[in-house]
């Protein structure tokens, strides 16, 4: 792990290196260097599998954290690259030319978090939220309870206390 980190840090500007397990580590990369770092890892360090792409909404800091998790089949090692994006202008370079399935993740991130990936095929098409008109629902400032109360008809609550129910059935004269 440390060898991979040293190799990477000699080429790219890294910060916040954190080794979580023997075979899992995370590091934060500059936004402009991410695609070249990922390409280097894929082509020279044999991280040939993109396990997942996901995002964390740091509302208080005004940032989105994008995580790219890569896997090396020879060493059986996972390595995560993190990028911090501005929350207001969340645009990231696409990596669908490296892994075809990245466009599915990018489409999902665009739908759920509103992070744009210009050039990624079909990134603007809805995936599960057909005809969605509200803000991206996985952002933390989206109030899902309020949205659901405004949009859907709810069944009124029918709550029966077990004690009352038993009393009415066993001792109806009381």
């Amino acid at each position: 792990m440390n060898k991979i980190y040293e190799d990477l840090s000699s080429r790219f500007t890294l910060s916040d290196y954190h080794q979580q397990r023997d075979n899992l580590a995370f590091v934060t990369v500059e936004k402009a260097q991410l695609v070249s770092a990922i390409t280097y890892m894929r082509d020279y360090l044999k991280f040939t599998h993109l396990v997942l792409m996901t995002s964390v909404d740091w509302l208080e800091q005004g940032k989105f954290q994008l995580t790219y998790l890569l896997h090396n089949y020879e060493l059986h090692v996972n390595f995560g690259l993190k990028v911090m994006l501005d929350r207001d202008n969340a645009v990231m370079d696409t990596i669908h030319h490296l892994w075809g399935h990245a466009r599915v993740y990018q489409r999902e991130l665009h739908e759920m978090f509103g992070i744009d990936f210009p050039g990624s095929p079909g990134v603007n098409e809805p995936m599960i939220l057909e005809s969605w008109q509200g803000p991206p629902p996985m952002r933390r400032d989206f109030d899902t309870k309020k949205y659901s109360e405004e949009t859907f008809d709810h069944r009124p609550r029918q709550h029966v206390e077990p004690e009352d129910y038993l009393r009415q059935n066993l001792y109806p004269e009381d």
Binding site: L129, T144, F152, D153, H154
Partner: protein
Amino acid sequence: MKEKDKPEETKALKQAKDNWTVDENTLANADLPEEERDWFCDARPKVVKPVSWDPMEKFLNWARAHSLWILAFGTGCGAVELRPLLTARYDISRFGMAPRPTPRQSSVFMIGGYVSIKTLKRIVRSYEEMQGPKFVVAVCSCAINGGMYWDSYNTVKRIDHYIPVDVYVTGCMPRPEAVLAGFQKLQELIMAGKAEGQNLYAENFDWYKANQKQVITDWNMPDYNW
């Protein structure tokens, strides 16, 4: 298990009455291209009255109750319970039930749990494509009141506002015995002539359509799909 909700005045219907005039001309498939008109029906659903001769109606209901064909459309996680029901252990074919792959050939629609808006569109279309007499069994608590998705942004909370439901089966998820009991309850209702969901849909067609269009905002199919 049995619960009949009378359609009440919802905000959807109020809105619809304001900007969407409910009459036969607006609902017809008028804006379809000429070559697609034949694919869809151009008339509203009609209320089917029982046969005037009572013993005949009883015989028909008995026959309907013992030949229920289930639409095998797994709309949620409750559809998992259909597999043990269909196979040897619970063996639903003892009661004359069988799964069918298309809506045209089936008479029972089993709503298996949560219904997202994307699924609701397909459910409405499949329900309308089913030939009468048709019945709906809503399995799992998600279909009744939203269940664990009570505050979800994408899950319809009560399915009976969008298609009529004859029998509810509670549970998250119900055991196959419970689903079997639900189907037996449905048979009882049919034999008593009380499973009138299809007629309810025809009578309150505008109410159901307004509710459906309230949540399916990109309504890109004709109003009559059967």
